[in-house]
Amino acid sequence: MLSLYLAGSVAQLQLRAQRLVGRIPRDLPREYAALEQACRTQINAIVAGLGRLADDTRDNKSKRQSVQLRVFRRLVADLDILEATGIMALTRRHSDDHLLNHLIEQIRNEIRYPLAAPVVSSLSQQYFQIKSDLNLLFVPLAEGDFLLHLPDLYHELAHPLLSVVNDPALDPFQNAFYRAADHVMCHLDELERRESRRYGPKAYGILLKQWADAWIPFWLTELFCDAFATCTLGAAYAWAHLHLIAKRGDNPFEIWSGARSHPPDEARLRVMLLCLEKCGEGFAAGRVRKQWNEFKSEIELEPEPEYPRCLPDALLSTIATEAKIGVEGLGCRLADSQGNQPVSQLLNAAWEQFWAAPESYVDWERTEIEKLRLQARQSRVHP
């Protein structure tokens, strides 16, 4: 049965892959060339893999049908991801994306980002997110019309710094991540050792297992990306995160949900404040902390007793220290309120303006966005 199923399904998937190539527009602007090439390369690899699988199934050389099924499923997943990300971005590109692409190129130059700037697409259905292997960054549809969440672009830029392989220029940041991972593992080992010596509630043991699964692939990655954004942009990133917490209404101390991918928001903010302090922005950190404390007292949520065991200050401080060393090792420019960094200054000024004159902020922002659009249009005429 399985070989018949695979024979039919593989042929259909091959056709689907070819159809996707056929949908790539032929008149793409130059900034999409790298994305188009990456998509074509990945589709060709999928088609080649399907060809090998078809041969293997047809010849019935292998008795390992379970392996064939796994190979097939991986290829299906590869094509699904590509269709929903790279191909969608190419076929649904919008002229509005030019502003964000212009902005991300400016950010790259300002902070001396060591990789090529990603292509930005305003088709995200889930806030900001980046597909590192395609170097493609998604933002929500209307995000280019506003400034307060644009600091999250800096966070997304950090993901490829951790996932791109074989690039020695990224070693300082990646090695810092591995050192921090060692600290996290020691911390988790210690918690487990203590747990094994006591007769506590079983639920805590389950929680420990969930932390172990989440800490390094997910939480530490996010905390490093937060640290990168804070070190290169400054307080605007912490303000943007506080804004997100306030808007979404999630519990910022949540540590029980196993499906959760992101670290608790409170811990993320703590790392951001530590980074600001380590970058000499203690005053700015104090202002964010004051607003955060007021916000916490309003929402009347408290961390559970396990919370400080999971995310102790000392561990988060080590992570912030290592991340800053990693950012410096990349040769990136740290946030500097005195320096000539127009995008960074604008995003920080936006938050200053927001707090100084909240009622007139929208008008101020509209004017600034218009200026940005004008600059972006001029850059297209005079690249």
């Binding site: 806030y127 597909k131 292997d133 966070h155 991972a181 499906a259």
Partner: protein
Amino acid sequence: MSDLGLYSGWYAQLREYSELVDQVLLAGLANLEPHTAASRKRLAKLFRSLVGKADTDPTLASLRIWMSRHIKLSPSQWQMLSEALIQGSSDNATVQQLEEVARKLDLYRAQVFYDMRGR
């Protein structure tokens, strides 16, 4: 705040090693031809690193943690599996253990895929 960005590095690693185990299984454990040797060596190195601290690749820290917690093989079984890959031993127990590793790894890969992509 990126789900795609957050998952994709981890997903890529799970996918890579799922594929590696299946490549070895498809080629046959007794197949010591050079084109499969590299895959076998990489896999053997990963399995060996689950037993001791020596020769550990820091880039595989998450994978090591996950495998040691979710695939119930004893240290001596990991060690024997590693040696079997190098020597080309293809006894039934080795094949079954490798199939179990492949199955668990790919199941988790699929889970991460759906977390990343949504159902």
